[in-house]
């Protein structure tokens, strides 16, 4: 949503001005401050923030100092909401000090993650004083930082709940229940897409999608009757087609999106109508 746009109830959102590092920026009232910063290319490191999900506040990297009565109070910008007169500063000595320690913790927790290494290096942290994790059985390849984005996307966006947190504290891992392949996985790959450290892996092998990180859960793919490519998880394709109203004609429904487009274009040309036909 861009500033000034009406929300879903049709009521225009109030505009406010926030100050970041001394410069003023427009924002919607109640907007997540980290979002304002991202939109204006102000660098604040973050791992667990995703605009389409509720604020979570777990990675603790997006700390900013809220200026109030001449004092600064440290808080996470992904849980901070824009309000008139809000003033924050980034990269204060205090924030830098704590963030460096956090980066060291990340380097120890996800030593194989190039993303983490690069991000930490951008903030001057290239080494960690803490014992690096080394677990050869880790299905996430010692790259996971437990930001929870995959779990939340699976649960809150896809409504699948195929993966979740197992154990607690330092023993927490993400996987399927009982580390068994699960029927709840659509194979949509949202988890792969949202993972900030590229820890989640999946692979398409012929007619099957293998969720390598999630107990090798296997999801059947659907084949295009035109080009013979396997183009989408079967369950997801069926569910999506079922939602189209009026439904697609049978001979179009069995095609992949690319072939579907070609087919429709060809039909249009052959019909010579030059306008939109009815393909329902």
């Amino acid at each position: 949503m861009t500033p000034g746009e009406a929300d879903s109830t049709g009521v225009p959102v109030k505009q406010v001005t926030v100050t970041i590092n001394g410069k003023k920026y427009p924002a919607d009232e109640g907007e997540i401050l980290l979002g304002v910063a991202v939109r204006n290319n102000i660098a604040i490191p973050h791992l667990c923030y995703e605009p389409s999900l509720d604020p979570y506040g777990a990675c603790r990297l997006c700390m900013v100092g809220v200026v109030k009565h001449g004092k600064q109070e440290m808080t996470t910008s992904c849980t901070l909401r824009a309000a008139e007169g809000l003033e924050v500063v980034t990269d204060t000595p205090e924030i830098t000090k704590h963030r460096s320690i956090l980066f060291e913790l990340y380097l120890a927790e996800a030593p194989k993650s190039e993303v983490i290494k690069e991000m930490a290096a951008r903030y001057g942290v290239t080494k960690t004083r803490f014992l690096k994790k080394f677990d050869t059985t880790d299905s996430l390849g010692n790259k996971c930082v437990l930001c929870g984005l995959c779990v939340r996307a699976c649960n809150e966006i896809m409504g699948a709940g195929a993966i979740g947190f197992i154990n607690r504290g330092p023993y927490t891992v993400v996987n399927t229940p009982y580390f068994e392949p699960t029927k709840d996985c659509y194979g949509c790959g949202a988890c792969v897409k949202v993972c900030p450290t590229n820890a989640v892996e999946m692979e398409d092998a012929g007619d099957t999608r293998v969720m390598k990180s999630w107990s090798t859960t296997k999801v059947p793919l659907v084949q295009c009757s035109g080009c013979k490519e396997y183009y989408a998880p079967k369950g997801l394709a069926i569910a999506t087609l079922a939602r189209i109203n009026p439904s697609l004609k049978e001979e179009i429904a069995v095609l992949c999106p690319a072939c579907r487009g070609k087919r429709i274009a060809r039909e249009e040309i052959l019909a010579g109508s030059g306008g939109a036909g009815n393909h329902g």
Binding site: P55, G57, R60, L105, G148, R168, G169, P170
Partner: protein, 563 residues
């Protein structure tokens, strides 16, 4: 019987007084979990066998715990016209003698801990037991009890907690009657505000203000919750409050619900407290029967009920947002505040919710009954009232201690607790459990209140005081608490999950004499970051044991590492 008027309450009170002083010898065995653990049940069974066998005209009953854990099992004897006598360290073998003496209107004086000629149950009810047994020390002369002031524990160990009549006998539910029939919401909230009562769960937030915020939030429905997830190692005040006087909690919640306009209450209690759960269920059932819970309470038209939600005993579920998640059936993980529980959308099932600790609720009836001015005179300015502490660890007199806030650590540990066990020198105390800190002996003149404990680097917490003596290794203590906090971290945010793990690894290395000065520095820096950046109170306070031992016992760290 439904109580619908002051006259009905008086009828129940008279019935209760009959049970409390039945006009013949009565023996009450202290059967809270602590008493049972040291054989109280066996004593009770043995007494029952003999009474049945010899067809004695002696009444046998149960009571809660008066708090002197060191002397348990405790047994009360009441002979009509004589003082109530508390016997200590009673075993099955003593049963015959106790009954023989009681039959003759006497008590086995050698077993006696103290006598109570009369007892003030604070809420306007004084029970006169009688005179005699002058060779037995008076209750108030027993050093353990001498410095204490019983307000919350006023009934504990003196009434049968499984019988609502006995609670009513000592002034119970009179405050609910007073509030519901004669006070409006604003008057009650003003009273609680003026009393200065602060949350007893550890944070010390003004209770009246929290009530006001909850009441003023507009919503179709509101909840109140009692936090009974007492999880600090060595803390068991709330357990005893619920086991020994469950109706006090229920009464406090009724008054709170009425003041805030809540129709439903929950008690979130850990499943590891089976006896407290059993007694609370029993008490809730009795209160419903008497029309003190349910529809049209006391005939006032006000409706409110309480149910119990059990938790699996995760320390983090004492945190308000995690607690609500747990009740709703989700994983007990905190979420960032706001929204707070009192906000629309923030509380239980999204409704505004007021959450107070067991002991906070327990303070309510006495404030309503005796007035805020009476209450505010107890304790110190800004820290009014009494607080129950569990005094444990390497201290001579282990037990539950109730003192006015502002009492010094010295009074609690050295006077009431009689210093170290086995004549060892006390070195420090840990207050506030794993979130608290170690306070060295030289700071024992610190008054125990919310602010002064913070200044010393510790916290009040829910009220655990663990005593350490000269033999205690302070670095090992730090490790113990960090190990606890690591295991109890929910694992959501990095500083708590990863930071505590590495703090534990560093402490292990230092204790194994493989550490360096650099490791100590890293540990200190890491601890600071965990405090500053953790998501919830668990992480923000977990490094306190490290930070305080580093501040006060640095030499013990230094002695373990290479220079």
């Amino acid at each position: 019987m439904k109580i619908a008027s002051a006259a009905d309450l008086e009828t129940a009170r008279q019935a209760g007084l009959q049970k409390l002083q039945p006009g013949k010898p009565q023996i009450a065995v202290g059967l809270a979990t602590c008493g049972i653990a040291v054989g109280g049940n066996k004593v009770y069974e043995r007494l029952r066998e003999i009474i049945e066998r010899d067809k004695l005209d002696i009444i046998l009953t149960k009571t809660g715990c008066i708090g002197y854990c060191k002397e348990e099992p405790l047994v009360n004897i009441t002979i009509p016209g004589k003082p109530l006598v508390i016997l200590h360290k009673v075993t099955e073998a003593d049963a015959e003698e106790i009954l023989k003496q009681a039959g003759k209107g006497k008590v086995p004086e050698k077993k006696a801990l103290c006598r109570i000629p009369s007892w003030d149950h604070v809420t306007g009810c004084k029970i006169e037991y009688g005179k005699g047994f002058i060779r037995i020390p008076l209750y108030e002369k027993v050093p353990f009890f001498e410095g204490q002031q019983k307000v919350i524990l006023r009934d504990a160990g003196l009434i049968n907690s499984e019988d609502i009549d006995e609670y009513i006998a000592v002034g119970g539910y009179a405050a609910a009657m007073k509030a519901l029939t004669g006070m409006d919401s604003e008057t009650i909230i003003k009273e609680v505000e003026k009393s200065g009562l602060r949350g007893r769960g550890g944070a010390g937030f003004p209770t009246g203000l929290k009530w006001r915020i909850t009441r003023d939030t507009k919503a179709d429905k509101k909840y109140i919750i009692c936090n009974a997830d007492e999880g600090d190692p060595g803390a068991y005040m709330n357990r005893n409050e619920m086991e020994s006087d469950p109706h006090m909690l229920i009464e406090g919640m009724i008054i709170g619900a009425y003041a805030m306009g809540a129709s439903e209450g929950l008690i979130y209690i850990r499943a590891e407290y089976p006896l407290a759960i059993k007694r609370l269920k029993l008490a809730i059932g009795q209160a419903r029967e008497y029309g003190l819970l349910g529809n049209d309470i006391l005939g006032t038209g006000f409706s409110f009920d309480i149910r119990i939600a059990t938790g699996a005993g995760a320390f983090v579920c004492g945190e308000s947002t995690a607690l609500v998640a747990s009740i709703e059936g989700r994983t007990g993980r905190p979420h960032p505040r706001p929204p707070r529980l009192t906000d629309i959308g923030g509380g239980l099932y999204g409704y505004p919710t007021d959450l107070n600790n067991v002991e906070t609720w327990c303070n309510v009836p006495v404030i309503i009954m005796n007035g805020s001015a009476w209450y505010a005179r107890i304790g110190a300015k800004g820290n009014t009232g009494t607080k129950v502490f569990s005094l444990v660890g390497k201290v001579d007199r282990v037990g539950l201690v109730e003192v006015p806030l502002g009492t010094t650590l010295r009074t609690i540990v050295s006077d009431i607790g009689n210093g170290g066990a086995n004549n060892k020198k006390v070195k420090a105390v840990q207050t506030g459990g794993p979130s608290g800190g170690c306070i060295p002996f030289r700071l024992f003149d610190t008054p125990v209140d919310f602010e002064n404990l913070n200044k010393a680097g510790s916290i009040m917490g829910s009220g655990g005081i663990v005593v350490m003596d000269e033999d205690t290794d302070m670095v090992d203590i730090a490790r113990y608490f960090i190990n606890f906090a690591t295991g109890e971290s929910c694992g959501k945010c990095v500083p708590c999950r990863e930071g505590l793990k590495h703090a534990l690894l560093l402490l292990n290395r230092i204790l194994a004499k493989k550490g360096t000065q650099k490791d100590i520095e890293t540990l200190a820096l890491l601890s600071d970051t965990i405090v500053a950046t953790s998501l919830c109170g668990l992480g923000q306070t977990a490094p306190n044991p490290v930070l305080t031992t580093l501040a006060y016992f640095r030499e013990e760290y230094d002695a373990l590492v290479k220079p």
